[in-house]
Structure formats: C-alpha cells, structure tokens
Amino acid sequence: MSKWKALEKMTYIHQEITRVDGAAKVSGKAEYTYDIQRQGMLYGRILRSPHPHAKVLNVDTSKVETLHGVKAVLGKIKDEVYFVGDDVAAVAAESEAIAEYALTLFKVDYEVLPFTVREQEAKEEDTPKVFSGRDNNLGQVRENSEGDVEKGFAEADAIIERTYHLNVQVHTPLESHGCVCEWRGDDLYMWDSTQGVHGTRSGMARALEMPENQIHVITHHMGGGFGSKFGPKSYNIHCADLAKKAGAPVKLMLNREEEMLAVGNRPSSFQTIKMGAKKDGTLTAFQMDSFGTGGVSGGAGVPQPYIYSFPHWKTRHVDVHINAGPSTPMRAPGHPQANFAMESAMDELAEKLGIDPLNFRLQNDPNQARQQEFKIGAEKFGWNRRKPSGSQKGHLVRGFGVGAGRWGGGGNKRTQAIATIYPDGKADVKIGTQDIGVGTWTIVASVLAEELEIDLADVKPLIGESDYPWAPNSGGSQTAASVTPTVKLAAEKVKSALIQVVADEYGIPAEQITYRKKTFTISGKGETLTWKQACSLLDGKPVSEMAQWQEGLSDSGTAGCQFAEVEVDTETGKVKVLRMVAVQDCGLVVNLLTAKSQVNGAIIGEVGYTLLENRLLDADTGIMPNADLENYKIPGALEMPEFDVSFFDEHERGVIGLGEPPAIPGVGAIANAVSNAIGTRLYELPITPDKVLMAIETRKEG
C-alpha cells in the first residue's frame, strides 16, 4: 500500500507553498466565468417572478422580440412560481443593458396565489400551501432515539429547556452564479462558476437529454461557492437553450439580487431542547423537537445531540416549506446550527450546576483528539482568566466562550487522474477536480512534484475541465482527500513507467534502478542518469499513466474546538469579537499556508453567521428587503478579531479535508462569550445590537 513520505523528507507537501495560480490572481489575468468573452457573445437575463406564489397563465414575448438587439427569447419556463425570484422567462441580447431592458417588455399574466414566508406559521394547518395541491407545508417527520429519555431526565439534578432560533444565511459568493454557453456543432462548451465540473456535465446531459461526451464544462477559476454551486441549475439550462436558439455564445451571470433570492441559502432552525445532567456533571438526557425551512426545498435537519455523549436521547425534526428560494448545502450543513444550540445549552447547564463550562465539556466529550485540543486551546487562550458571567461593571464588558465541532469528509474512491511525463522533462497531471478558492491547483501541483521529486515549476496541474478524469464535486470537505492520493498514485505509476524505459535502454530489470531527487542510479554499473537524460529516452513520446484513488493515504473524521473573546458595549449593544483561538485536526496538512487561510476564513464566516447575517422576508409581500451587500451584512475589515490558528498533529492519518470543520465551533463560542460578558443569554442568531440591549434590559428587570 502506498504511503506518504516522512514529514522531514517532504519538499512540497506539508510546507508553506504559495499558490501556483497566485500571480494570475493578483494581476487580473486569472479568467473566471464572469470574465469569459467569446466572439459574437450575447448576454442573457432571466425574468423573475415578483410574486411569492402565482400561476403563470401567459407570457407574451411579442414586444421583447421586436427590440433591436434581442437575439433569443424563452417564453413561459414554468406554469407555477413558488418564490420571489423564481424563473419565468429568459432573453439573450447584444448587450447587458438591452437584455435588462428587454425584461421590462415581457407581458406576463399571473394568477396570484396565497403564500407564506414564516415557517412558524407555515407549519400550522390553516396556512396557505406553498405547493398547490398538497395538504400541508411539511416534509417527512424524522425521529431518532437511544435509551430512555424519561429515565434520563429522572436521573438529572438540573434540567434546562429552551428554544434556539437561527435565521437563514445566504452563501454570498463574490462571483455570482453564472455561465457562458457555446455550441460547437452538436457539442456544448460551458464555462460555469461551479463546484463540480463533472457533476454539472452529467446533470446537463440528463437535463438536455444529450450524450455526456458532447458536454464540456470548464471552471478554471471560480469566485467562491461555499456549497451553493453544485450544478447544474436552471440558469445553466436556460443559457444553453438561449445559445442554441440564438446560434451564438451566451453569457448569463446572475446579478446580486438574484444570487440572494434564487440559488441557495442555509436553512433556518428552531430547536426546542431539553437537557439534563447530574450534580457531578454527567449528562443524562437530551431531547429535541426541531423544525426549520429551506424555502421550497428541505435540508433543515440538525445532527443533534451534537458532540457530547448522552446515554438517553430523543430527537424529532420536520422541514417546513415556505415561499422562498431553495436551500443548498452551506459550509458544514446543519453543524453550526447544532453547535449554537448545544453549546449554548451546555453553558447554561454548566452554570446551573456551578461547573466550569470547559470542564463540563471535557467530562462529556468522548473524542480523544478533542480532549487534547480543548486543553491546548485553553492554554493558548488563557481560559483560566475567564470571569463569572455578568460580573463586570462599566459599559464595556468582555466575555470568554468555547465551542466544538466535528466533520466527516474523506476521499471519494471513484476519483481518477492521468499523469504524464514529457520527453523534455516536464510533467502534468489531469484530474477533473476544480479550485473553488481553497488552493486545489497548488496541492495537485505539489503532490505531483513531491512524488516525481522534480521542481514545482516543471509540473503542471490540469484541473477544472470535465474532459479530464472524474473527480467529485468540491463539497463535503472531500476534495483534498480525494485528489491528493489519486495524484500521488498516478505519479507513482508514471514514475515506474519512466524507470522501465530506462531499464529497457540498459537491458536490465527495473528493480536494478533506483530513483532519488532527479537522479537514476543503475545499480552494479555505477552509472547515473539525470531526470532530463532519462526523459530524453522517451524518444518523442510522452508516457502517461492513469490511477484510481486507493485507501491508506487519506482518512475521514475531524475534531476541532475554538475559543472566543468578545467585548460588548452595553450602551449600544454592539458586540466585537476580539480574538479567536482555533485548534483543528485535519490529518496530514497538505499546504500549511493555504490551510491557515481556510481556517481563518471559516472563523470569519462564523463571525458573520453569529453576529451579522440574516435573510429577511417581508410577510406582506414575500420579498427579501435586504437582498444586497449593504443591507445583508457580511463581515468586513473592521469586524476582524485577532486569530490564533493551530493544527492538531495527526499527520499519520493521511489527508483529511478542511473546508468545513473549522466553520462550526466558533458559532457557539462567540455566542457563549457574549453571554459570559453580559450575564444573560441570547437564544436567537444573529446577535445584533437590538437583541443584546433587549437581553440586558430584561435581565435588569428580571
């Protein structure tokens, strides 16, 4: 079985290697989907429903078609629309301005239907139905349990019962969803801002009823996805249809409002939790009744009981539909929601029992890695300086909080790669993965260079095209664990093939040749060949080998914890996160530089989710009043805390993904730090100044 080298022997893996696409990205040369320009390219736009629920009776396109510059029109895409922003029709024109104007010339007859955008109301019987013809707005009820909760609660000395509420978060990648479609004969070439070139290719083939080998999806650089961009989506299909109809390439990029409305979000969550523990700090029982909304889709479930061990537990969850855009996975789906509720409940129960919150966690967390991480983090953070909740005077008060997370990840066994060595000594590897901003270009190049023991400058990663060998969608934190073993295996095979060429040249068995750092040594003969000399033996014909993922170089399952210190202004209610300490395991860290960026970014996402982000929906109209980057707040430069990120060393486990694991623990940690500062709890995210002031006021009165 193949193994990674010892850490001290590595040159490119487990180092701070700067991105191989860095120069392209800092000089504006990196071409994103948004930047693609093709000869005679048109601009597509989608007409979107202004109503949260309506029947589309008729779409009159006659005026649109007379507009100078309009080249293709798609009338009436569907019979019923279910949310503000749902697709109604589409158009392609010579300029974006003409396409935009053309949208005003569609004449649509709607039969407006009753709607609901409040999940608390939508779950009741006498509310309007999101989907006509259905009896209710509920998904399937999911129940799980272990042990006997009644017995568990009977054993408890302290019990809390609370409802935790998390609002909808929107992914907000800076590059919106969008694509450029170009037909060449019967083949469709599609540049798409996607997290999966292969998934999008096969999905498009199904949607368009086309052979898979006639669809080519290209994503060389993409401006963020966070789980929202698993294609294909309806815009891809409309764009392909428009391009076919117009007989010209079409670019269809969503604008910011469409991005906020129609292509994904993190579902809301309402978790009513009852939790008990004994005086000595042993957890005895957990019970949860939860619901949440993913708009017209589901996905609002939460993996409770999260992290901590309960001998008796019972959960019940139901998804509630409302007339809002569909949810999609978002960075560790369900986990931050579970983390906020669980970590809040843990702190409140610890307080009730008079136990230090960290000790309470150590006592009830069965994960050995996290046991150590908690201790490392507490030491770095200075947890022992934590003050009792609400004990500080003055208008600026500080608080400490802690939270934990877990994630699966792991490699996809179907991943394949083709590595090639060329006669001039260069090498490349083709693998149909994509870089969504996490540094996949760089780790692919690093693994190839490491295995062939040649310079990074002499290898070329070839990714981001569905014509390359299959690799999974970049989701579920599986990219690194799928891609790096496969590239290594392909490199090993092609290296062996080159050794065989050398062996044939000398007429000896390959076993008599050793290769180390650009030098082939012919045993017994005392002769050596340089890498270049060996490659020149290829006689003009590159040598290629394909490999498939194997076990042994990667693993799944991660643990992490984060500590937060916040400052709360009790006069304005504003919360500032001062510093975050993160301890995270992810097995063998492939790139120490980009890994740190990923953890920083995950923490910043937690700051946004905990303190700022909230998709609003107006109950009277169903519209999202904050569908832009000014009113939907994401973290900016002035919200940044200090960061202290460290990796818990478990390199012997092999490569494990890192995209999602660190996006979880800080949510509960920050919320708990706020409670520690002000001496009262907040049960709803985001923790905005109004809620903080209300909580302080209520505490004073209470």
Binding site: L67, H68, L174, H221, M222, F643
Partner: protein
C-alpha cells in the same frame, strides 16, 4: 467635473435630466430619444453614442460608447480589462475599485463619460512587465487571497493607501480596505500583506 461639460454636444446636465439621475434602469428608457434606428426597428434604447478618451494603464483609448455605460462596463466589456471585477454593481463591495487620477473610485458607480479625459489604473497595469508590484508580491507570499475575486479591488485600495501613507498603522490599513468585502475570509492575511509591502517598499526605496 463641471456640470456643463460637453460630450459630443450632449451636456451632462441634459443627459442626467434625461435619465433621471440613474445609471441604467427602466426609468431611463421611457424618455429616450428615437432616431433612424427607431424607425427601422420599432424600439431603440439609449441616446446617441458619446465619444470618450480614457488613458488606461498609460495607454490612451478613444472609443464611442452608449453614454449610460458605467466605467466598469467599459473597462470589462469594451476594453477587456476583466481583472476589475463586477460583484454587487451598486458600490457596496469594492470589487471594482480602480485608481482614477490617483484616487480610488468604484467603477460600477461611475458613468464612463464622467471618466472622459482621466487617467485610470487597473490591476492589469500594476506590474512592470513580469515584475509584480510589491503589494502583489506580498499578497502571494502571505496567501492574501482564496477565490481571488475580491483581490484586485483590495490590491488597488492598498496601492493608493501606500502612495499617500508609506508607513500605515494596522488600523489605517484596515480603514483603507474597509470598503472592500471578501467572502472567503482572507482579511488577516490581506492586512499583513499590505503591511509587509509597506515595509518592503520603504526598504527598496
């Protein structure tokens, strides 16, 4: 820019009145004059084209544009400077930051005709051949980018900061890029990259 500056006979005052002060929108289109093309095709959008001259990254470009085009639209779609990114198109995110006559502007929130006669620097013009600007170098070195979509905007903000303030404090760096949004969450590395670039530039010069 003065109110009555001419753009091929179309005064800015008259033009702005015509479009109701907006950049592009449906209100614009109802009050648009109809010309020969209108007779031929029925509906035409936009008043007549305007000729503008921009100096982009040191090269003078004269072009005829629809006067409703934003500077961003012209840079990206007419002149192919696609390094300047379009994200919110409303002046909320800083991704389209370019340098116009030495100061940062949001190219999405400025009409191209208002940039007539100005000198513009975009991300493509920062490097000297293959030699990157120190900020660009430090962005790579510090991994001050992930997806990279916000990167050009941040770099342009940083460049202008260091021109005016070669030794910024960390707070001044944060303030200078506070109009730029990053969703991958690269801020701490961005701050450090700009700080390191300031130090490198002082050493170098």
């Amino acid at each position: 820019m003065s109110e009555d500056k001419n753009h091929d006979g179309l005064s800015r005052r008259r033009f702005m009145k015509g479009i109701g002060g907006g950049v592009v929108g449906t209100a614009v289109l109802t009050s648009v004059r109809r010309g020969k093309a209108a007779e031929k095709y029925g509906i035409v959008i936009g008043p007549e084209k305007a000729k503008i001259t921009l100096t982009v990254n040191g090269t003078q470009k004269t072009l005829e544009i629809d006067p409703r085009m934003t500077l961003l639209d012209v840079l990206r779609n007419r002149l192919s400077f696609t390094g300047t990114k379009q994200v919110c198109n409303k002046g909320q995110c800083g991704a389209c930051t370019v340098i116009l006559d030495g100061r940062t502007v949001l190219a999405c929130s400025m009409l191209a005709i208002d940039a007539d006669g100005t000198s513009i620097e975009t991300i493509e013009g920062l490097a000297d051949g293959d030699t990157l600007h120190p900020i660009q170098e430090q962005f790579i070195k510090n991994d001050a980018l992930q997806c990279g979509f916000c990167t050009p905007g941040f770099i342009m903000s940083g460049v202008v900061l260091l021109r005016h303030n070669p030794s910024p404090t960390m707070d001044e760096i944060k303030e200078a890029v506070s109009g730029n949004l990053c969703r991958c969450g690269t801020y701490p590395h961005i701050f450090k990259a700009i700080d390191d670039a300031a130090k490198a530039m002082k050493k170098g010069g």
